[in-house]
Symmetry: C2
C-alpha cells in the first residue's frame, strides 16, 4: 500500500458485491452514488440518494428515494452484452481516489464468443457543481467489429427493502433539448419533482438526435461503431439532476439541461473537481506517520463524511448511513450531534452550521411532538427526515416470522436526543465563536429543549433512599438511554445528567443573551413564555434531579442496573452476533450486557465535570459489560477516547481500529446497508480528542498527546474561533 | 340501449377513471387487463394480472404481480404526444363487446398545436390462445405531417398500494428473435419467470429490426411515418406472455416468440376469438326480456366471471376481485365456493372442477394450518393464494393514523370456509354427477375438513340452559361468522350448523365410498386415520352440537346477539358509509347491525332443512338489521334469493338490482379496486335459484318460477349430470 490516498480492490468478489458498493460510494454533499457497476450485476444495489428527497414508505414512514440511475451503460461487443456475470474476467481493478473523489474501474474481459476488450470506467460527482455527474468509459477492443453503447438515465430506480422493492417515481415528461435528453418525474407521495438531463459524447463528438431512444422513463443515447483492435473508443456521459427543492418547478428541465450542456470537456470538469477537493483536504486532512493502515482508513472515513455533508442546504441532515445505502432510510439520529458535529465544528464550520440550522428549522416539529405527548417546549424526534416530525417506525416485522411485529419504542421514549442537540449547539458556539448564529438560532434550541426537560421531569416526594430533608426528587422514568438493549428504564444517568446540563446551560444562555442581545432575549422570553416562575422551576429541577453516585464514584446506568444478572462476555466468544441477538430482546433487557458505553459517553461529553478517579472506576466497571464488537457501531470511538483518558493506550488503539475499519473491512458484517457515519466521524474524535488530547477550556484549547506507540507523527488542522490552528505531534 | 351485448361510455370522465378501468377489463381465464388507456393517463391503474403469478409483499403476505404492460403505446402527431390530459377531446366512445370480448375506444382529438386525428383502439385477450394479446390502433389524421408510434412491452409495472407501489420484476434478458422483441424477467421473492414477446405491424408490414429500441426493461418498436389527411394508418401490436408456471424455463422465450409469430392477421385472430366466445355464450348466456338493464347487466357480470375463470389450470383460483384490480391482492376466499361455484357447476363444470381441484391440491397447506393451531384434519386458509398457506394479513395500517395497526382476525378464527369448501365439493358432485372426481378428490376434501371440525369442537358439560339430561354440548367458541362486524363470538349458528353438515356429509360420503369405491375408501381410512372410534366421535359432535332455535323458529346469530343494542338503520339514512365505519370497529361489535345475512345464508344453503315458516321469521328479523348498501357485497344476491323464498318479489328485485349493478354503476364506491366477483356470480344464483326457483332434489331438478313482475321472459341453460337442460320461462 504505497498511495495512502486510494482505496483499491484488485479482485472482483461477487460474494461481497454490496459491501464494495458501499465503500466505493462517491458524492458531493448534495447526492451520493453507490459503487455499483455501470453495466449492472445480478443482486446489485445501485442507488443514488439526494439529500432531502424523501417519499412515504410503509412501516418506515419515509425514506430517501433512489434517484433515476445515471450510471446505466450497456455495452455490447459484437452483439454480446458486457457483464461480469458472463464471459471471462481477465483483470480487474477498482480504485477510489480520495484526493479527487474519482472512482475508477479497469476490467479486461472476454465475451463468451471470445471478443476481448479492456474497459476503463471513471466517474465522479462534481464538487464544483453539485448537480453534475460525470462518467467516462474507454473501451480498447482486441477485436474488429461492432461496438454498441447504450447510455440511459433510468427512472425505474427502486428502494430495496429486502423482501420487497418500492417504486417512487411517476413519469411527467421527457424529450430532447439542446442535444440533451431530459426526463421529468415526481415522487409518489410527497410530490417532489426531479429533472434529469443526459448528454453523451463519443470520441469527443456529441451523440446525434436520431440516436436517442425515448423509451418511457428510460431516455437512452445509443451509439454503434465499427471498431478496430487496439484503437480505444472514449464514451463520455454527463448527467445533471435538479429537484423542486432547488429551483422553481417550471425551471427544472431547463436548469438540468443548462447544467449538463455547460460541461465543455471531461478534463475541464475534472480540473474543477480536483481544485474543489484540494480545498476540502486543506481543511480536513489528517497526517499519520508510522501507521499506513490508519492513515488511509482515517482519510477514507473523512472522505465518506465530506461527501455526505450538505454544503449549500440547511434544510437537510446527514443520515445514520450517510447517503451511501438504504439503511435507516436516510433518517437522522443523535449520531449527527454527538458523533459527527465535532468533526465539522472544528474543520468545516459552514457545514456544522447547516446541520444545526436544520434542527432549528425543525423546531415546529419538535414542539408538535412535545405537545402531542403532553409536554411543553421542543422534544426532538428520535428519527428525523424532511419535516422534523417523528419518523421512527412504530412497528417492524419480526425478522423470523412475518406474521409477527416488533414494537419499536425509541421514537416514544429515547428522550436524550433533545439534550444532545442542545449540547451540539453549545459546542459549535464554543468552538467557532459564531455569536450571530447562537443568538439567532442556537439560544432558541437550548431554551426550548430545556423547557421540554422541565415539563417532562416527574416530582417524587417519597423516593426510597432519598434523605427526607431533600423533600423529594425529580426523576425521568420510562426512558431509553444510549444503551438500547434496556428499554423502559427509570433514571438513566446519561439522560438525567444531560437534561440537567441542558437546563443549566439554558439559564446561562438566557443570562448571556440578556447581556449581549437584549432584544433577542426579550423576544424569546415572550415567545417561549420564560417567566420568572418557569425559570425558578428549571432551577428546582436542576437542584433536585435524581443523580446518585456510589461513594467510590461508580454510577449506576439506571435504576436497578446493578441488580441485573451479570454476563460472562468472554464465555460468549467467539461470536458473530450481538448480545441482543444471543439473549433475545426480552432477555437482553434482563442482563447487564450493554449495547454501547452509556455512562462513559456522558463522562466524555461532560469530562470536566468528573474526576479522573471517577472516570477510571466507571471505565473499569462498564468496559467488560459492553458489546464492543456487535453492539452499537457508535461505541468504539468513545471507548477509544476514554481508554486514552484512563491511560490505556493499547486498549485505545484496539477500539480505534474497530471504529476506523468498520466499513472498509466490514467488521460488523452490515456495511452493505451503508457507511456507519457516527463511527466514521468518531474516528476524527479519537484522533483529536483521544490521541492528541484536544480540549477546550474557557481560556482556549489545550493538547494532552497520547499517540499510539508506533505512530511517529500526527498532524491536523482545526479552526478555533475563526483562526486556523495546526497541530503537529511526534512521539516525545 | 339497443345492443344488449355491449357496455358503452360515450363520455370521458377523469373523475371516475379507475372505475371505468375496472369495468372495461378484458381477459381470457389466464390473465386479465384493466381498461386503462394505451397512451396512459395521470393516475391510471394499468394492470395485467396472471393467475398464479404471486410475489411476496409487505403486510399482505403475497399478491398477484402486475405483469409487464403490453398496452403501452405512445403516439405523436407532428411531435406532440397524444394524451387526453392535454389538447382537445372532440369525441369519445369506449365499448366493451361482451359477445366477443373486444374493447374498442374511438377518440377524436386535437393536439395543442391544432393537429387533429381520429384514433380507434381495439384490443382483446385471445380466448383461443390464452398467451396472446392483441391491440390495433387506427389513426386517421386530419393533418399532413409526422406520425410516430412507439409500442412497448414495459416491465416496469407496479402494484399499487395507495400510499406506495411495489416493483416485482427483475430483468434477466431481452433481445430480438424472428422480428419479435422479447423480454425475460423474474419476480423478486418467488422467482417466477415471465417471458414476453412483442411484434408490431404498420399497415400490414412488420416493423423492421432497426426500428426497435432495446431500452432496458422496455423493449419498444418504433415507427415514424409521413401521413396525409384522411389516409388512415393501422398499427397492430401483438404480444405473448408465458411464465415458468406454463413451460420449462429454457423454453420460455422461444415459446413466447412462437405464440406471437404464429399470428397471421388481426382478422384471423379475431375470428378465432369470436368462435371461442360463441362457445362460452352457448353454455352461459341468460336471456331476459322486458328488462333491458337487467339483461345487459347480467351478461356483463357473466362476462366478468368467464374472463376470470381458469380453463386450463387447476392450481389457481379466482380472487375476490377476479383479475381486474389490486383489491385483496388476488387472494381467494369462501367467495369462490359459496358464491361463484354454482354458476360454474351448472354451466361450466370443467371450470368448477379446476377450482375445486385447486383446493384439493392445497390440502397440505390446510393440514399444516390445522396442525399449527393444535387441530387435526384440514383447516383451509381464510385467504389463499399460490401455495394454500394462510395469507390473511395479520395486521394492516389504520387508515387514519399510520403509526397504528389494526389486527385482522379472520385468518385466525373465521373457520367456516372449511365447511364451505366441503359444501361446494358435494354440490358440484350433485349437479354434475362427476363420480370420478368425487372419488379421487371430493371425498378427501369432505372427510379431512370433517376431521378438523371434530377436533375443533369443544365439549362443555355445564352450559347454562342446556337440559342436564343432555350431559353437555359441543360448541365452537371464539369464531367469526359470515357477518364480520362481530368478532370473537361463540356458537355462530352458521358455523355450527355447517360444521355439523360437514360431519354428517363426511359420514355419508364414507358410506357411499365403501360401497362404490372400496379401495379408495380403505386408502382414505388409512391415510386419514378414520378409525371407528373417530367416526363415533364425529357422530357425538353431530348429535350434541349446540344449535339452539327459539320456539317461534328464530335463530340467534351467535351467543348473546339478542342482547346487543338494537340500531335504527333507517335513522342512519342517507349514508355513504358502512355500519362499521359509522360505529367504529369496536362499536359495531356491540350493536345488532350486521355486515351481511349470516343466518339467512345458512337457510339458503341448507334450504331443505328448514321450514318456510322458520325462513320467514328469520327473514323478517334479520333483514332490517343488515347493512345492505355498504356492508358486504356478498349480501344482496342472497337477500334477493331469500326474498323470493318468502314471496316478496319487489324486495327481491331491489336486492338483485343492488347486486347486478354493483360494478357497472359502482354502487358501493369501491369498484376501482376490481370486480366484486361474489356479487357478479351471485346474480346468476338470483336468476337461477331465486327468479327461476331452480332446486335439486334426490329425484332431479325442479323449478319454482318467481319472475320479477315486469320480466316477460327468462331463459338459460345448465348441465345436469352431463345433460344440457334449457329453462325458458314466461310470466304465466
Amino acid at each position: 500500500m504505497t498511495d495512502l490516498w486510494a482505496v483499491t480492490h484488485t479482485q472482483f468478489d461477487p460474494q461481497h458485491l454490496q459491501h464494495a458498493e458501499t465503500i466505493f460510494t462517491i458524492g458531493n454533499g448534495y447526492l451520493s452514488t453507490r459503487g455499483a457497476f455501470e453495466e449492472g450485476y445480478p443482486g446489485d444495489e445501485r442507488a443514488t440518494l439526494l439529500h432531502g428527497v424523501f417519499d412515504d414508505a410503509p412501516m418506515v414512514m419515509t425514506e430517501l428515494v433512489n434517484a433515476p440511475d445515471w450510471l446505466a451503460l450497456t455495452i455490447r461487443l459484437n452483439g454480446e452484452r458486457f457483464s461480469l456475470a458472463q464471459g471471462t474476467l481477465e483483470a480487474f481493478e477498482q480504485t477510489l481516489d480520495l484526493k479527487t473523489g474519482v472512482l475508477t474501474r479497469t476490467v479486461r474481459w472476454r465475451s463468451p464468443a471470445g471478443d476481448g476488450a479492456t474497459l476503463k470506467f471513471e466517474r465522479f460527482a462534481s464538487l464544483a457543481n453539485e448537480h453534475l455527474l460525470l462518467l467516462r468509459c474507454t473501451v480498447t477492443p482486441e477485436f474488429e467489429g461492432l461496438l454498441e453503447i447504450h447510455a440511459a438515465l433510468d427512472a425505474h430506480a427502486y428502494n430495496e427493502h429486502g423482501a420487497y422493492r418500492l417504486a417512487h417515481w411517476h413519469w411527467l415528461d421527457q424529450g430532447e433539448r439542446r442535444k440533451a435528453a431530459y426526463l421529468l418525474v415526481r415522487t409518489h407521495g410527497t410530490g417532489l419533482k426531479l429533472a434529469g438531463a443526459l448528454r453523451c459524447q463519443i470520441n469527443g463528438t456529441a451523440v446525434q438526435a436520431q440516436d436517442m431512444w425515448h423509451a418511457t422513463m428510460v431516455p437512452t443515447q445509443v451509439v454503434q461503431l465499427e471498431v478496430k483492435a487496439g484503437q480505444p473508443v472514449v464514451a463520455e456521459k454527463f448527467v445533471a439532476l435538479v429537484t423542486s427543492r432547488d429551483v422553481e418547478v417550471d425551471r427544472l428541465v431547463d436548469t438540468a439541461v443548462e447544467h449538463v450542456t455547460a460541461v465543455t470537456t471531461w478534463e475541464a470538469a475534472l480540473a474543477a473537481q480536483t481544485a474543489a477537493w484540494q480545498a476540502e483536504w486543506e481543511r480536513c486532512n489528517v497526517i499519520v506517520e508510522g501507521d499506513d493502515e490508519a492513515q488511509l482508513a482515517l482519510r477514507f472515513n473523512l472522505f465518506q463524511m465530506l461527501i455526505a455533508a450538505p454544503r449549500h442546504d440547511d434544510r437537510v441532515n446527514i443520515g445514520a448511513k450517510t447517503l451511501s445505502g438504504f439503511g435507516y432510510c436516510g433518517h437522522s439520529f443523535w449520531d449527527t450531534e454527538i458523533f459527527m458535529l465535532p468533526l465539522f465544528s472544528y474543520t468545516s464550520p459552514h457545514i456544522a452550521r447547516n446541520l444545526l440550522t436544520y434542527r432549528w428549522r425543525n423546531l415546529p416539529g419538535a414542539r408538535a411532538k412535545a405537545r402531542a405527548n403532553g409536554f411543553e417546549g421542543a422534544q426532538f424526534p428520535w428519527e428525523s427526515a424532511a419535516t422534523g416530525e417523528e419518523v421512527t417506525p412504530t412497528w417492524v416485522p419480526h425478522f423470523a416470522d412475518r406474521t409477527q411485529l416488533v414494537r419499536i419504542w425509541t421514537g416514544d421514549i429515547e428522550l436524550h436526543i433533545s439534550a444532545d442537540i442542545a449540547y451540539a449547539a453549545q459546542q459549535y458556539w464554543q468552538v467557532t465563536g459564531d455569536d450571530e448564529w447562537f443568538i439567532q438560532q442556537g439560544a432558541e434550541l437550548i431554551l426550548d429543549t430545556a423547557k421540554f426537560w422541565a415539563s417532562r421531569a416527574e416530582w417524587h416526594p417519597d423516593r426510597a433512599g432519598v434523605p427526607p430533608a431533600a423533600g423529594g426528587v425529580y426523576e425521568y422514568r420510562d426512558v431509553i438511554g444510549p444503551d438500547e438493549y434496556h428499554e423502559h428504564v427509570d433514571n438513566n444517568f446519561y439522560t438525567n445528567r444531560m437534561a440537567q446540563w441542558n437546563l443549566q446551560t439554558a439559564l446561562h444562555t438566557l443570562a448571556w443573551l440578556k447581556n449581549q442581545a437584549p432584544d433577542k432575549a426579550q423576544q424569546l422570553i415572550g415567545q417561549l413564555d420564560l417567566s420568572e416562575q418557569r425559570l425558578a422551576h428549571w432551577q428546582a429541577v436542576i437542584d433536585k434531579l435524581y443523580l446518585p453516585v456510589q461513594p467510590n464514584g461508580l454510577i449506576e446506568q439506571f435504576d436497578g442496573y446493578f441488580q441485573l444478572r451479570e454476563i460472562d462476555a468472554a464465555a460468549l466468544e467467539p461470536r458473530s452476533q450481538s448480545f441482543q441477538q444471543i439473549f433475545g430482546i426480552a432477555g437482553a433487557n434482563e442482563v447487564q450486557g450493554i449495547k454501547q458505553p452509556d455512562v462513559l459517553i456522558l463522562l466524555h461529553l461532560l469530562r470536566s465535570e468528573f474526576s479522573a478517579a471517577l472516570v477510571r472506576v466507571n471505565y473499569d466497571y462498564y468496559t467488560p459489560r459492553t458489546d464492543h464488537t456487535y453492539g452499537s457501531s457508535l461505541g468504539p470511538a468513545i471507548m477509544a477516547i476514554m481508554a486514552c483518558e484512563v491511560g490505556l493506550p493499547a486498549d485505545a488503539y484496539e477500539h480505534f481500529r474497530r471504529a476506523v475499519r468498520a466499513d472498509l473491512h466490514d467488521v460488523r458484517g452490515n456495511a452493505d446497508d451503508g457507511i456507519h457515519a457516527a463511527s466514521a466521524a468518531g474516528t476524527w474524535q479519537v484522533m483529536a480528542f483521544g490521541f492528541a488530547g484536544l480540549r477546550l477550556t474557557p481560556d482556549g484549547w489545550h493538547l494532552h498527546p497520547r499517540l499510539p506507540q508506533h505512530w511517529k507523527r500526527l498532524s491536523f488542522k482545526f479552526c478555533y474561533r475563526g483562526e486556523w490552528q495546526t497541530v503537529d505531534l511526534t512521539q516525545e
